[in-house]
């Protein structure tokens, strides 16, 4: 595997890690909001929030370092070629579709169970941020496996 392949793989891994960290952070935050202060559930959710935020922050730092490495190697255009751009557009489209689905379900749920809007809003946020990152990473890794 040459250096470019490794960079493509690294980018997909960092984005997947960032998505997982963000989802864990926000889902735990939601769980903490829904549990009573001082309970074991609240403590577990608070730990999850901190760990998720740390993973997300770590992934963002790794992504900054990755960007510097790509600039240094002068391979920005190559690593962002037309297949990569197509994968990115598709990933955003998946994110939009899933977010729309969550928002629609959220509206329906709110009419049945009053006061659940904050849950669907938080889930919509998680989906809107995580789905594009995960699907982009998956498509990139799949393209590499096919190689």
């Amino acid at each position: 595997m040459d250096e470019l392949d490794q960079l493509v793989k690294r980018r997909a891994q960092i984005l997947t890690l960032a998505a997982a960290g963000f989802a864990a952070w926000q889902a735990s935050f939601l769980a903490a909001d829904m549990s009573e202060t001082g309970t074991d559930a609240f403590l577990a959710a608070s730990i999850g929030t901190s760990l998720g935020a740390l993973v997300f922050a770590g992934a963002m730092v790794a992504f900054q370092m990755f960007g510097r490495k790509v600039s240094k190697l002068k391979v920005c255009d190559v690593i962002d070629d037309e297949l990569t751009r197509q994968n990115r557009y598709k990933a955003f489209a998946y994110g939009w579709i899933f977010t729309l689905a969550v928002v629609s379900i959220g509206f329906g749920a709110e009419t049945i169970w009053q006061g659940t809007a904050f849950i669907s809003q938080r889930i919509a946020l998680i989906v809107a941020v995580s789905v594009p990152m995960v699907s982009f990473g998956r498509m990139e890794l799949k393209n590499m496996e096919q190689a």
Binding site: L4, D5, V8, D77, D81, E82, L83, A147
Partner: protein, 72 residues
Amino acid sequence: MGKCTDKLGNRLRELRARHGFTQATLAEAVGVTRKTINTVENQIFTPSTILALKLAEALEVPVEEAFYLIKP
């Protein structure tokens, strides 16, 4: 339901082998990643006209020799 659109076939693998290119070296020659060359070869990804012309140029053949239409 059958497919309604034309597909872009290609002879990249054969032409690449004839010129002694690997996927990586051909990718480097046209300024894309190896996964792009592979997905074009396997007809997973349809390249832009610009990339198709660059590939044909790198393989020293007219573009219509490297790429052809597959009718549905």
